[in-house]
């Protein structure tokens, strides 16, 4: 299935190929966590941009997706390949914090001692500095006999020292943007979200299937529907609920956006080891 998937991704361009691709993607996304993990790693190890991108797409939000689970042992990776995989994870999966943490942890478990420090630096500089609380994901996932426990302990002390130092220095009032600048930024963010909601609304499947009603107040609605036949109109009462989704952005997205993009691009274009 992997070969077929790869083939469609790299060569397919017909409409029915696209349908097949969608079906396969959906199947993998809803498969067991270890199957999903295996596909993601296999695709990332190819180093091919399209396939790596597909690996990243597999990790997109899905209603019934299991948490990813990865065992790298069957891949029989040498040290350069583990470092290569790490950089691909950082290049393609950085926005999926939880999945990236799982994938990186599996690399930390397998890396030979002589390259452990190098791998830890990669994880620290490009992952933990972006997500300060991701260390908790590492800690929660490592048991007492875990091969990665020393690395996790080491990384935890580094990131906690960094956080403590940063919190001790605190913010600087002299660097505060002016009131006008703050207002402009607030408008800018509002515009961004307004545009995003509009796009999401336009692309929503619900907007195609159902009629849109705008509720100004309340947490439940009552509607009388003319369904024809006896008992019409039918009274329907509906409790409303809110759906929210949040994505944590890497800290560097704010602190050093061009640098972040540059590093991601460098990781993406890296060729597989000889």
């Amino acid at each position: 299935m992997l070969d077929y998937f790869k083939k469609i991704l790299t060569q397919g361009n017909r409409a029915d190929d696209n349908d097949t691709l969608g079906e396969i993607q959906d199947k993998i996304k809803t498969a067991r966590g270890d199957v999903l993990g295996w596909f993601v790693v296999s695709l990332l190890l190819t180093g091919d941009h399209k396939l790596c991108k597909a690996a990243s797409d597999l990790l997109q939000r899905h209603n019934v997706r299991e948490d990813i689970d990865v065992d790298l042992k069957p891949f029989d990776l040498t040290s350069p390949w583990i470092l290569f995989l790490t950089r691909k994870i950082l290049g393609y999966c950085l926005l999926q914090k939880k999945d990236a943490a799982t994938l990186l942890l599996s690399c930390l478990r397998l890396v030979p001692e002589h390259d452990r420090a190098k791998l830890e630096d990669l994880v620290f500089d490009h992952f933990l500095l972006n997500y300060w609380n991701a260390i908790c994901l590492f800690e929660a996932a490592t048991s007492r006999h875990d091969e990665a426990r020393h690395s996790v302990r080491h990384l935890a002390s580094r990131i906690r020292a960094h956080i403590a130092e940063s919190e001790r220095s605190g913010i600087c009032v002299a660097f505060k943007p002016s009131e006008r600048e703050r207002q402009i930024q607030a408008h800018h963010v509002q515009d961004f979200w307004r545009e995003a909601y509009k796009k999401a609304d336009e692309q929503s499947i619900v907007s195609v299937l159902a009629r849109k009603a705008t509720l100004l107040y309340g947490t439940a609605s009552v509607v009388h529907l003319d369904v024809g036949g006896p008992g019409s109109p039918a009274r329907q009462e509906m409790k409303l609920s809110a759906f929210r989704h949040s994505v944590e952005l890497p800290r560097m997205y704010v602190l050093d956006p061009v640098g972040l993009e540059c590093r991601i691009r460098a990781f993406e274009v890296e060729e597989p080891p000889e």
Binding site: L129, H162, E165, S166, S169, G170, I171, C172, V173, A174, F175, K176, P177, S178, E179, R180, E181, R182, I184, Q185, H188, R251, Y253, V254, L255, D256, P257, V258, G259, E261, C262, R265
Partner: protein
């Protein structure tokens, strides 16, 4: 107004603060100050001595002993530095042996000069002391903060020298010291009023400079209490430049007025340096060691705010470094090797701080505004002059790479937009917008110049390819001082200078430097700038930074060990 000054005076420290203001205050009251505070010489309790008349009193000799803040029991009689010990020395030694012969017939007034108030707890002791020590020719007086504020308002800041509209601007600046943009606008208005109204006489210029000095100090003291040094930093830089503009034509020669004017300019520069130092120690140093430390300290979630703040901060750091370098060279020229060596050590500390900040904040490799080339240029000038050429080479290479990458990837590449609102929207989509946003550039030629200066042929070649390829629509340019520069450069009163446009980025370092040298030689108005002629060349750097005008390329030819730009 009086309350503002009373509070200001109460907050001043004795050394270098209160004792600096008092002589100016007396001079503006028409008195002759013949002894000023100095270090190392024995003054027998007298901090300031002056002759003249205050109000309707008779002409007298005033001997002032200055103490900061309130006079309490501990400062009245608590050891050799106490007020009482100083007064004893005045009565026992100064009055007996040290009064100049020409003033020996004058009545003497010994003044207890306090920044704050006389505490009730020691009032009786002080009054008793004054009664006991008073003689027919020697009397005592107490000038507390309230009285000093009165003297300020009848002297330096008197109504006819400082009209109500100017006072209003100043009051607003002080009241809004915690809102730096607004504060700077009002203080700028105040400075502009003083400059426009200043008559072209030495005494008028002296008064105007004194007003600027006192106003700046007052603002600084108020800001110090709010814990936000941003407004006084920007105001002090502007005050220094305006003070130069006002004084530059009357400060040459050995006449007393000229010397006083020079003194005042130096004092305003010193206040600015003191504020710059405080800015560094409170805002930058504590965060310099930390990776992304300075970026994390910006209270904003917008990458734009962080970028603007970081480049501004390093520009300030480097500008202060260049002033220190200037002072160090002056000390060496004056033969004061010991002091120069200590300042040289400070210079290296300053350079190391700057390098740490750059190294730990990668956002400093990705300018968003083309005119951040000014800050980059000042940093390179400072680091290169202190000897950190290799660091400059690497930094310039990183900035060049990031700039080229950002442009090609349509990421936040440097643009010529200046309005915050436009920058917040940058980069927009579309090649037309991209070309408009990069229609001109001082950044690329500046980076090329520094690549050439540091001998980085690889970066120079990459920039040459970039300039003749994807960036060929952009008008690469450098700004040289022109005939109109002297008139506008310090106060930012208008556009000035000669732009060298359609610049070709040469692929060889030698050729690139030859182009710059040749233009510097042809456009030689730089040497005619008053600040350069009078040996205050960092004033031009501060003006460039403050008014966001490119630093003259002549500074690139400044040697590492030379005494300034050639």
């Amino acid at each position: 107004m009086k309350l503002i000054f009373a509070h200001y005076l109460a907050s001043l420290k004795e050394r270098g603060e209160l004792d600096v203001v008092i002589p100016d205050l007396l001079s503006e009251l028409g008195m002759t100050v013949f002894s000023r505070p100095s270090r190392g010489t024995k003054q027998y309790g007298v901090d300031v001595a002056a002759v003249g008349t205050i109000g309707t009193g008779e002409r007298s000799l005033y001997l002032l002993s200055i103490k900061p803040g309130d006079l309490k029991r501990s400062t009245w009689d608590g050891g050799p530095q106490s007020m009482r010990a100083s007064l004893n020395q005045i009565v026992d030694v100064y009055v007996q042996k040290h009064i100049p012969k020409r003033y020996s017939d004058l009545p003497i007034v010994v003044v207890l000069c306090l920044g704050g108030e006389l505490h009730e707890g020691v009032r009786l002791d002080v009054e008793g002391y004054m009664e006991r020590q008073s003689r027919e020719k020697t009397t005592f007086d107490v000038w507390n903060g309230d009285r000093l504020a009165d003297l300020l308002l009848t002297g330096v800041l008197r109504e006819n020298a400082l009209p109500e509209t100017w006072r209003a601007s100043f009051r607003k600046a002080v009241a809004l010291v915690d809102e730096p943009d607004v504060c700077v606008t009002h203080f700028g208005q105040f400075l502009d009023d003083i400059r426009r109204a200043c008559r072209p006489t030495r005494s008028a210029r002296l008064t105007a400079s004194r007003q600027i000095h006192v106003a700046l100090w007052t603002l600084y003291v108020w800001a110090r209490e709010t814990g936000n040094i941003e407004a006084p930093y920007r105001c002090s830089e502007r005050a220094m430049l305006f003070c130069w503009e006002i004084s530059k034509d009357s400060m040459l020669g050995n006449a007393t007025g000229s010397r006083r004017l020079r003194d005042l300019v130096v004092r305003v520069i010193t206040v600015h340096s003191q504020i710059a130092y405080e800015f560094e120690t409170s805002c930058i140093t504590p965060r310099a060691e930390l990776h992304h430390g300075l970026a994390e300290a910006v209270p904003s979630q917008a990458a734009l705010d962080i970028n603007l703040t970081l480049f501004d901060a390093v520009g300030r750091l480097a500008s202060h470094g260049l002033w220190k370098w200037h002072a160090c060279v002056n000390l060496l020229t004056g033969g004061d090797r010991e002091e120069a060596e200590s300042l040289r050590a400070e210079l290296h500390t300053q350079a190391e701080l700057l390098m740490k900040v750059i190294g730990n904040n990668p956002a400093l490799c990705t300018p968003i505004k083309d005119n951040q080339a000014i800050d980059i240029d000042i940093c390179c000038l400072f680091l290169n002059s202190v000897g950190y050429t290799e660091f400059v080479r690497q930094w310039v290479q990183q900035i060049a790479s990031a700039t080229m990458f950002a442009y090609k990837a349509n990421s936040t590449y440097p643009c010529i937009l200046r309005e915050y609102r436009d920058l917040a929207d940058h980069p927009r989509k579309g090649s037309e917008y991209r070309e408009r946003a990069t229609a001109g550039s001082i950044l690329v030629p500046t980076l090329a110049a520094w690549a050439a200066i540091t001998g980085d042929a690889g970066t120079l070649e990459a920039l040459a390819d970039f300039a003749s390829g994807p960036y060929k629509h952009s008008t690469l340019q450098l700004l040289f001082p022109g005939l109109d520069t002297e008139e506008h450069v310090y106060c930012g009163s208008g556009d000035h200078g000669v732009a060298l446009i359609e610049m070709r980025i040469e692929r060889s370092c030698v050729k690139m430097l030859a182009v710059i040298k040749s233009e510097c030689a042809k456009l030689a108005e730089f040497g005619a700038l008053s600040a350069v002629q009078r040996g205050f060349w960092p004033m031009v750097i501060s003006a460039s930074r403050h008014h966001r005008v490119p630093v003259p390329p002549h500074f690139w030819l400044m040697g590492r060990v030379a005494g300034g730009p050639r």
